[in-house]
Subunit: 233 residues, 2 copies
Amino acid sequence: MGAKAFFFDVFGTVVDWREGVAREARTILHPLGHDLIWTAFADAWRAEYQPGMEEIRSGRLPFAKLDVVHARMLERILPAFGLSDISDDTKRALVLAWHRLDAWPDSSRGIAMLRKHALVAPVSNGNVSLMAALARRNNFHWDAILGAEFSRDYKPKPDVYLSACAAFDLSPADCMMVAAHSDDLAAAAACGLQTGFVARPNEKGPGKGESRPTVAVDVAGNDMVDLAQKIFG
Amino acid sequence: MGAKAFFFDVFGTVVDWREGVAREARTILHPLGHDLIWTAFADAWRAEYQPGMEEIRSGRLPFAKLDVVHARMLERILPAFGLSDISDDTKRALVLAWHRLDAWPDSSRGIAMLRKHALVAPVSNGNVSLMAALARRNNFHWDAILGAEFSRDYKPKPDVYLSACAAFDLSPADCMMVAAHSDDLAAAAACGLQTGFVARPNEKGPGKGESRPTVAVDVAGNDMVDLAQKIFG
C-alpha cells in the first residue's frame, strides 16, 4: 500500500457542499425576502449535477468549466423555488457559493499528513478558480490543481484520471484516488489507480452519504486522518 | 498598481537554471568519466530552448510537455560534448536535472509576500511535474500551476497568458506577469496583462542577464522582494 500521488474528489469528500451551499444561499437570498428550506435548495441544485455534466461528457455541448455548469443547473431549479425573477447578479453570487464551502473537520490535517509522503492534488470536477478558493479558505496545500478543467472533460471519463497521473509522470498504479463515492472509485480503479474510500455518512443529509464503499477498495478510512494513518501508520 | 493574480515566469526569473543544470549534470556525468565545462553544457542545452518550442508553437509537432522537449534538445547537443554514447537512463537523469533547480535567494519570500494580497501561479513553459518538484524543493506555495501544459502551447503564444487569466476568472488587466525577460513581458502586455520586471543580471552567466527591461513595464524590482515591496509597500 501507499502511493506516490494522492488525488482527491472534493465535493462531499473534502468539503461539505450541502451545508455550505445552504448557508450561502440563505445569506444571499434571505435579505431579498426569500425563505426556503435551504438544504432542500442545495439538494435540488446538486441533483442537477450529473445531468449537467452529461451534456458535456456525451459531446452534446463543448467543455465548459463547472461554474458555467453550476449556472445552467441553477436555472433549472429556480422556478420550483419561486426564484425565477432573481437578478443576474444574484445568480452570479449564488454560483460563487460553491467557492465558499467549508472542509470537513479532518480534511486539512489528513491532506497534510498524506502530503508528507506523496504529491497531493484535487482531481475534482470543480474548476481551477473554485479549487483555489476552497484551498485558500480551508488551508489546503495542493501540489497542483488537476481534474476536469485540466483534462477538459468530466469524471468519470477515464481521461480525467489518466491525465492527472500523466501530469505527475506517474503510472496509474502509483496513484491513489481518494473519494467518498463508490462510483468515482470504481471509475478510477478501472483506469488502474489505487483507491481510498473516506466515509462521509452525512454528505447528502443525516445518514444519506456513504458509510462504507459498495465496491472493493484498497483502503477505507472513517475520515481523512484515519485514511492517512491506515496508509502510512 | 496591484493585481488580483501574479503569474510567474520560472526559468531564470524564479530559479537559477544555469548553475542548477551545471551542478546536476556534473553530479550525473562526472562519475561516468566525463569532464566538461559544466556551465557551457547548461548554456548549450538552453540555447536549444526556443528552437525546440518553436516546432510545437508552429504546429510542426503536436504539443509535448517540456520534459519531452528538453530530451529532444539534449539529443542535439550531445555530440558536441562527446556524449553521444551515454545511456537512455543517463539521458533521463539529465532531463530531470531541470526538476532540481534552486531558487534565487529572494524568490520564495517575494512570492509569499505577493500571495498575501493575490493569487500566485507559475505561467511557465515548464510542465506540471517539473513545477511541482521545484515548488517542493524551494518552498513555493502556488495557488495553481498554470502555463504551457495547462494551455497546451508555449509562451509567447497569447493563449498561454490568456488561459491563465481565464482559469482564475480574471480579466488580463487584473493580472500581472512577472518575469526577468523583456520578450515575455512584451507578449503578456500585448494580451492586456500588467507587467512586473525582476532583474536577474547573472541569469545567463555573470552580467549576461537583463539588469533592466528593454520594454515599458508597470513595475520593475531589483529582485522578487523588491518587486513585492514596490507593489504593496
